[in-house]
């Protein structure tokens, strides 16, 4: 019969070990992936800075995501160096070229007085609520903490703002600003799912706040019950937003949001809808085009599609607004390829996505080399009187 001691000795014979001093050298000069294979409560009490947490029980299933390059050195540690010895052996079997185990483990690391990082950490309740995010390596605990610390401003609590605000709230975005001056109208409820029949006549920002707070008490809602204008846009943006989700229903607001986002250097996730079709893109100042690179000025009021004859399939904003939420989360997390420089078109009738490339225009009146627009412009209201928020 083989004992634990035999197994451990066997593992240690097959792998490479380093002591804390050499581990520190390796971290400083060798750029290893540092993997902490201890349990959650041990990790919470402190860990080596830059380490990824892969409990040993999940090692085989999660290590590829944490360390995709098998040729890159991997420094593994646990409390005293035993679990990490077994883990290093497993990595050898998985084809990793240089797994090394920290002999003496985290205990020895601390005894040497080397730096320890404390996790601000998610508490048990948050860990349960966001568990499906924690399982995604690209999000994980650090990503979730980032989301809880991020601030996203929604322009409009209408068709696009409804699904976007719901998903951003559910995802645990720490602060959601909502700008909307309207009240809930019966004709909104065919698509504006953040509101409900009992909220008819209630200001949309208040209705949205109630729904969001019921969904996720971790989210702080900042309500701006006002229409975005040249007078208030600087004040609202100065409240410090990481991302703007533009779900406005009119050209004057779209252009205000654009110009302000360029001047305040805040990325905008843009979405718009009409009948069965929608568009999404990301305008990130300095990295890609802005709305005016695409459309230097709005159409004259008499050519703007009449709101009265417009109409929209109720689920369409659900699709486009959810894509906006997805792009906003990617920007807040700093992951993936944001939709910068591409305009995605969706056609529900044909069930078809297509894509056109959009470029920064050096002659752009706002973000170009010689801007000709340097102050906000209040364009005339379109569909005045018949305006009905999409």
């Amino acid at each position: 019969m083989v004992s634990y001691r035999d197994l451990l000795a066997q593992a240690k014979a097959e792998i490479d070990e380093v002591d804390a001093v050499r581990a520190k050298d390796l971290i400083e000069s060798g750029d290893p992936v540092i993997v902490d294979v201890r349990e959650q409560d041990e990790w919470d009490e402190g860990h080596i800075g830059g380490a990824v947490h892969v409990p040993r029980g999940h090692l085989e299933s999660r290590i590829e995501a944490a360390a995709p390059d098998r040729t890159r050195p991997v420094l593994i540690y646990c409390a005293v160096g035993n679990r990490s010895a077994f883990a290093a052996k497993t990595l050898l079997e998985l084809g990793y070229v240089e797994p090394v185990s920290l002999a003496g483990g985290f205990t020895d690391w601390k005894r040497n007085g080397f730096p320890v990082e404390l996790s601000a950490g998610l508490d048990a309740r948050k860990r349960a609520r966001y568990s499906r995010h924690l399982l995604i390596p690209e999000v994980g605990e650090q990503g979730q903490l980032k989301l809880l610390d991020s601030k996203i401003l929604l322009i409009g609590a209408g068709g696009l703002g409804s699904p976007a605000s719901l998903y951003l709230a559910a995802a645990g975005v720490g602060r959601l600003g909502i700008v909307d001056a309207d009240v809930v109208d019966e004709s909104n409820l065919q698509r504006q799912i953040v509101h409900s029949t009992e909220r008819l006549g209630e200001p949309k920002v208040d209705s949205a706040r109630r729904t969001i707070e019921a969904l996720n008490p971790d989210v702080e809602v900042v309500a701006y019950k006002e229409r975005l204008t040249s007078e208030n846009v600087d004040r609202i943006l100065a409240d410090g937003w990481d991302v703007i989700v533009d779900g406005a229903d009119n050209f004057p607001t779209r252009y205000l949001v654009n110009d302000a986002s360029v001047w305040h250097d805040i990325p905008v996730v843009h979405g718009s809808i009409y009948r069965f079709e929608g568009q999404v893109t990301v305008f990130k100042p300095g990295e890609g085009p802005c709305y005016r690179c695409l459309f230097p000025s709005p159409p004259p009021p008499e050519l703007a599609p009449s709101c009265a004859e417009g109409g929209v399939l109720g689920v369409l904003p659900g699709i486009i607004g959810s894509l906006q939420a997805s792009e906003a989360l990617k920007l807040a997390l700093g992951i993936g390829e944001p939709l910068i420089g591409r305009l995605m078109l969706f056609d529900a009738l044909n069930a078809e996505f297509s894509d056109v490339s959009i470029r920064r225009d050096p002659e752009c009146p706002v973000c170009g080399e010689h801007p000709t627009i340097t102050e906000y412009i209040d364009y005339v209201e379109f569909c005045a009187g018949t305006r009905e928020p999409a």
Partner: protein, 89 residues
């Protein structure tokens, strides 16, 4: 012949069609042919003999403004998309 994709906001001008065939070897010739078929489109697409600032024309997924504008060549079978600004939300 080239098929021009008509955006939902302009479909009423072309009798509801999603695509309209037109003849021409450049964007200018194509648009001239399109606007000859549907004269009410002119004010939606053209301003001062140029493509209006509130509309984009894409040939093979590229904005013709970043190529040769109205003189951009259009090969037979190319995908041409008209895309006016759309504000609904």
């Amino acid at each position: 012949m080239t098929r021009i994709r008509i955006p939902p906001t302009l479909r009423e001008e072309v009798g509801g069609a999603r695509e309209v065939p037109a003849e021409g070897e450049t964007v200018r010739e194509l648009l001239d042919d399109l606007m000859a078929q549907f004269p009410s489109l002119r004010r939606q697409l053209v301003e001062d003999d140029e493509i209006a600032p509130f509309v984009n024309v894409y040939v093979e997924g590229e904005d013709v403004r970043t190529r040769e504008g109205l003189d951009t060549e259009v090969r037979p079978g190319s995908t041409v998309i008209l895309l006016p600004a759309m504000a609904g939300g």
